[in-house]
């Protein structure tokens, strides 16, 4: 065996790593990618995001299950935005949520704004009039557990198209009645299983699961499926959503893994 023939020179190895990294990281302007803040963990997250987008077929459907597969579902995180004891309680929107809930959400509106041609607000009845999608899917929590439930709602795509997505739009960010906001890229936003859910297991969305409307992003972990939705903002550039977003709290933005 000739040792030299096999030997991969260290320089070639480093060049190889660097060019592979460049391939995965380049191709988008910085404002179209989540920032790393110079943090090595966020660089790893960015590599995962870019690699998944490059290597996985676009918009594959998450597995849908049978009715008999529905399991019990824990409700974690905030289970009532009006509860001032919850860590994500918001002093303005919390009491507002309480009033809306008392009125059976008749006055609740979902605002859709940002890079859309016709900014709009939708009542629960408006959303329920749109073509509904029902799916029995698995919720995967970052903690390690999972649960299968039936979700009923309107595809996010339908709502975004009703408001007219501008061609330059790249991200869809969504805000809750508590201090929680999340965002997804257009690929996940337009995914046929990404829905705004108002029903769970055949009934109206229970309070602890995000009444009256929550996001369902079936290709990512549970924390992207934000509960108690208040508004949707479409953007051209990446928005880390400040102190109420995942990034500034030390959590990955893309969690398809």
């Amino acid at each position: 065996m000739n040792k030299d023939r096999l030997l991969i020179s260290r320089r070639k190895l480093v060049t190889g790593f660097a060019s592979t990294g460049g391939l995965l990281l380049a191709g988008c302007s910085p404002k179209e990618l989540p920032p790393t803040y110079g943090n090595v963990l966020r660089m790893g997250d960015l590599l995962t995001y870019r690699a998944f987008r490059m290597l996985l077929p676009a918009q594959s459907l998450a597995r849908e299950y049978a009715h008999g597969d529905i399991s019990s579902s824990p409700a974690v995180g905030n289970t009532n935005p009006a509860d001032s004891q919850q860590p994500t309680f918001n002093a303005d929107r919390g009491p507002l949520y309480d009033r809306l809930r008392t009125g059976d959400f008749a006055d609740w509106r979902l605002r859709v704004e940002g890079r859309v041609a016709r900014p709009a607000s939708f009542s629960l009845a408006d959303l329920k009039r749109m073509p509904a999608k029902t799916q029995i899917t698995k919720h995967t929590c970052e903690e390690g557990w999972s649960a299968i439930a039936e979700w009923r709602g309107v595809p996010l795509r339908t709502v975004l198209e009703a408001a007219g997505i501008m061609p330059s739009a790249r991200f869809v960010n969504y805000y809750a009645y508590d201090d929680i906001a999340e965002g997804i890229d257009m690929l996940d936003a337009l995914h046929p299983q990404t829905i705004l859910a108002y029903g769970m297991n055949g009934r109206d969305l229970p309070l602890a699961h995000g009444a009256p409307l929550r996001m369902r992003v079936e290709t990512q972990l549970g924390y992207k499926s934000v509960k108690f939705l208040e508004r949707i903002v479409v953007t051209d550039e990446f928005d880390d959503l400040g102190k109420i977003g995942s990034l500034q709290n030390g959590w990955a933005w893309y969690v398809g893994i």
């Binding site: 065996m1 289970t79 903690e143 390690g144 649960a147 699961h209």
Partner: protein
Amino acid sequence: MRHKNNQAVGQRASVTGCREMPVATATFGEVQQHSVAGHPRWLRISHWILAASVFTLAVSGVVILMAHPRLYWGAVGNDLTPALFELPIGRNYKHGGWAAPLTFFTGANQVVSAARTYDIFNQNGWARSLHFLAAWFLVVTAIIYLGAGLIGGRLLRNLVPRFHELSPRLLWQDVVAHLRLPMPRATGGPPYGVLQKLSYFGVVFLALPLMVVTGLTMAPAVTAAYPVLLDVFGGSQSARTIHFFAFAALVLFLVVHVAMVVLTGFKHQMRVMILGD
């Protein structure tokens, strides 16, 4: 040093290339005498990157597991469904903080929901990202290691046991040789004894690939793209449980591996894996 190493490689090739020579059947003690020191540079570099990756993956993996120290079998599992087993690690073990349940469906397969009222231990923000960062290092290095090792034939030659080595008598001889103290000094590197081959083969070709694939079976974007993974492992919670058992096997390997390095001459063994001879 490099010149000497090249000679050593040449000698070894001629020895293992000769079928009549009983090098491959040597028991532990004999192997030590026949052994010719030396690991090529690509192997030494990838060994240490892989070692650091595995260590980081193990530590961050335990932190992730501590957030939910319950394991299941099948597609789903959570605090409201029965566990396969629970691990007493950290304060989330059997925590009782659940509000009164809401019933969705009654009957044999009762489906409920309950709100958690307990502030769990959860460091997954950094632990998950660190886990995947280390996994990238592991996967990229493993591809280079497997590529270099398979192309040169080194991996198959040194790590795959020959059929005749797997006889109960030879296996037993090697077990006995490993239990005799003090251990003979090692010169470092191949040819390896049959137990050594079996354990390295198990780690390189079985445990580590299984770790990567069961890990990916927990990723919702990956299982959407390749749902066959869910069928292969019987669900993402089964994959998580297999991931845990493969971790336990790798920890066991690591303990024995390090013990053997210490018992057969720590300084020399480290020198061989760092400097090559």
